[in-house]
Symmetry: D2
Subunit: 117 residues, 4 copies
């Protein structure tokens, strides 16, 4: 099958989610640094090719719960992340998501929409 722009848009979107996950998981955080980390993850994704928009939010409730009581911080985990990302490749927009799936207890990446501009 011939590879087309739709394939490429979806492929690029997958790359970005995989990359951000494994770049930033493990970062030390607490409730005061969540805002800054969200912004820098967005920025670091936003500089990469074909990214049209990206929005990152970190589950503050989970951060609060996971913070070590003595040391007052924890590490960013995949299941704390909610990411919504749009890739534009030529005329194709792929919208994808990373979201914690409670039922499967898994940080799930999925395609939400594919559209033409």
């Amino acid at each position: 099958m011939e590879i087309n722009n739709r394939d490429r848009a979806v492929f690029e979107a997958g790359i970005k989610l995989g990359a951000l996950y494994h770049q930033f998981v493990g970062t030390p955080i607490n409730e005061n640094t969540v805002d800054g980390l969200e912004r820098i993850i967005e920025e670091s994704i936003g500089v990469q090719p074909f990214v049209r928009s990206v929005s990152v939010s970190i589950d503050r409730e989970m951060v609060g719960r996971k913070q070590n009581p003595k040391f007052k911080y924890c590490e960013l985990e995949g299941r704390m992340l909610h990411v919504s990302l749009q890739v534009l490749y030529k005329n194709i927009i792929a919208t994808v998501e990373l979201a914690y799936d409670e039922e499967q207890d898994y940080p799930l990446m999925s395609i939400k929409m594919i559209g033409e501009m």
Copy 2:
């Protein structure tokens, strides 16, 4: 547009390449540990969902050239990596690649083939 198995296969393949890149880039290596690192990158990708096969090779010549003369090691860089990966999602096989593009001086990820089983 309706999301189909082809989209999902290509998306999963992108996730895996982005993930391995940002997980392993930065790992200290020298010429003696290249073999072991290739195998463990393959294994760590292989345990993830929908991976049919994966082959990783690290550019030994580049490792040799980048090794610090005094300390005799360097760090794994994206441009040292050559990865060929097949994802199987339902009946769709997506074959993708990470390879150093010399002309653009860039570790390029691309879709090589999409086929039906």
Copy 3:
């Protein structure tokens, strides 16, 4: 205070533990790939300056428990790691450890011994 070889040995040992932790946490694993990952973490630490010996073991019981039941893998977490490391700087040997402290629910790094050769 004058900086001496003892300071440098202990400092180098700290660097190595911090490095391995943040390099490898997040790596996808399951019970079949634990052995290989232990060896490659040891190798990647062993190529760095001043490392005299390193031994890594990953808590298989915890890996088994954390594996996603559907996808059959999990990610390496700091609390799965047990690392014993010796740095030799000039005539000083520093022995340090990373071990899960259950009481504090924390992957604790500590100095175990400092000796002269």
Copy 4:
């Protein structure tokens, strides 16, 4: 030899430098996101135990030079980082540094000062 507060201060300082290096190297950046990344690295180190102060600067000239001409970004490398860090353990302050050593072409971590409060 008995382990003392000075050993622990220097050890903790080493941990923090090793950690930040391997957590953040590989992050996609360009000239516009350098400021934000410097701040978040500082914040992520600052939440960890015993950190008294931390200052991170990224070599903008090197970022500009390494940016891919087509894609307008590069990845954070160890040699772009200049970090100055103070750890306070009980009454001991250890001041350490990560700085690019041009002569050895190596991102060098070193102890700059050890003092008593």
